[in-house]
Symmetry: C2
Subunit: 347 residues, 2 copies
DNA sequence: TTGTAAGCGTTATCAA
DNA sequence: TTGATAACGCTTACAA
């Protein structure tokens, strides 16, 4: 492996000059410059980033820790992060915690030791995930989607409004018993979406029935199992609000498998789009988040922190959008969503 | 930020002893050991991996470069890579080249300079993608899914057999004009799948019609557009073989939008599963690859290279599996697939 | 403008 | 068993 010394020797200059040429820092005699460039080329020289990082204490790497790399929500976020990061000269390291606090802690530890420039994280737990080692090292952290226990910059959608929007839509379409299939409450998103669901019930004068609230993991399996339970109930709900996309796949699967007609027997509203919501029968009504933009926003925030922005931790809240499709009754809903948009989004 | 010197000072020992304790290398007096551990704890000491890497010339990082992080095929691969890598003490850095040769080159350059331990890559081009900078530095490279121009270890599915399997199934179900919607031929997978498709036509005594072969990008949009063209043809095909999952979404979308009955009017077979193939109407017949296992295999190969395995570059080929569902005619197909399994998989 | 040399944090050699 | 010290490859005062 060739080092800067090899290039210096070949070009008959000092390492300092090589560094200056290669980094375009400081003035260099064009003749020497040419010699350096030629030598570097000939020797296939590549800077050793480990050496540079040790010296400059900066890695130009952003890390993105997501709880489920197979969830399109997070890969869309990733695209947003990458696009902004790359343009600013940063590489993105994507880490998959797999909803496993141990794996997550390992990644946080590794990234701390690795001295990455910044971290965007959607934590496995809004109560327990510990990013203090990063913060202590001065590594900037931005929470995305889910809150962190520590007060940090935080990019999210207005989950409460989103859930209320979905639930109100179901109620105004005629549903009287709306089930909510939710993730476990250690995630802030699950808590907020539950709150929005309850808001809507209350506003409609409906009693919240704990038997209609399911707290499973945010995975397909969880949605499937919860739906099977729902189908077994004697006082069966006439609508389901499912609070994440992976669970939605399970719910839809279970409903189709049991030939439950949507929306006639059960209306369905999901959270986050998936490539298939438009091609199944019936198409599925969802609450949509601007995922790509959220990834971009988190990255911009990180970059501004690098540039010395030391203002208070900021919460950046995006507005959700209810996309009406055929798994829920459309007509009344359209009117409602108009009303809601005006009242809530302007709030 | 605390360094090993701070710990040494606090524990009143040398940095060498601190290093020995923390890395469990060499014998240390238990009394000193306790002092070191305590000091490290108290000071919140974390090893600086940049320093360590510079010294040891090993990063314990594997990189996985994929052309589309939003494709479930690659995220499933990623899971396989991660699981093996983490168990062996490596972290995984996932890089998204986005089918963009420039982005890909940037990542390769960055990873070269960063001295990662090994790279698994599914290249944007089997002709042009240049990993020589990695190889020159002694960084091991394993190709996955798609071949590299350079001869390296290579993990793939038997694409040719897979495509033949799919096409033969369509033909034996009664199709006489089978269209093939394919990726562009700069990817080895596209070339091999085309070959398998042609094999099957030939074997059945059918003439290959170039008008039935579409070469678009491996994305949803490409599948959608190609299908629209197909639907406009006066001598319309009675079957479609689409060679990747993202394109399959587009194909299915277009067929549903135009109310084409499957399999009555057009039979459909796709490549790679997606979460929705089981829940749409009709369910979609696909050729399945063992994605997770392929990720694991690539990583095992990398690890064995680290351990001094210097044998010839190896090609690891997995067998595909035809999963019959309702978008193609089932009965005859079942018999055929039996026959094929016996004859081809044992080959 | 160019070169010398220190130092980033770590590990590992060698001497004690 | 422990410690002093060199070295990894790079950037950057500072000196020339």
């Amino acid at each position: 492996m060739k080092t800067i010394r090899d290039v210096a020797a070949a070009a008959k200059v000092s390492t300092a000059t090589v560094s200056r040429v290669l980094n375009k820092s400081g003035k260099v005699n064009p003749v020497l410059e040419k010699r350096v460039l030629l030598a570097a080329e000939k020797l296939h020289y590549r800077v050793n980033l480990t050496g540079r990082n040790l010296r400059t204490k900066s890695t130009q790497i952003l890390a993105l820790i997501v709880p489920d790399v197979e969830n399109p929500f997070f890969t869309a976020v990733c695209r947003g992060v990458e696009d902004v990061a790359n343009r600013a000269g940063y590489s993105v390291m994507l880490c998959n915690s797999d909803e496993d606090p141990v794996k997550e802690a390992d990644y946080i530890s590794m990234l701390t030791s690795h001295n990455v420039s910044g971290v965007i994280i959607s934590p496995t737990s809004s109560k327990l995930t510990d990013v203090s080692s990063l913060v202590r090292r001065g590594i900037r952290v931005v929470a995305l989607d889910r809150k962190l226990p520590l007060k940090t910059d935080y990019v999210r959608v207005d989950n409460r409004t989103a859930a209320a929007l979905a639930t109100q839509h179901l109620i105004s379409s005629g549903a009287t018993r709306v089930a909510c299939i939710n993730g476990d409450r250690s995630k802030s998103t699950a808590k907020e979406r539950l709150a929005g669901y309850l808001d809507a019930l209350k506003e409609a004068g409906l009693v919240a029935d704990p038997k209609l609230q399911f707290f499973v993991d945010f995975k397909e399996e969880g949605g499937f199992e919860a739906t099977l339970e729902i189908l077994k109930m004697k006082d069966r709900p006439d609508a389901i609000f499912v609070t994440n996309n992976q669970m939605m796949t399970g719910v839809f699967h279970a409903l189709r498998e049991h030939n439950v007609a949507m929306p006639e027997q059960i209306s369905l509203v999901g959270f986050d789009d998936l490539p298939w919501v438009d091609i199944v029968t019936p198409t599925v009504t969802t609450v949509r988040q601007p995922t790509y933009e959220m990834g971009m926003a988190a990255t911009y925030k990180l970059l501004s922190r690098f540039n010395g922005d030391n203002s208070e931790p900021q919460e950046i809240v995006f507005e959700p959008e209810l996309v009406l499709r055929n798994s829920s009754v459309k007509l009344k809903a359209a009117k409602l969503s108009q009303k809601l948009k005006v009242s809530q989004i302007q709030a």
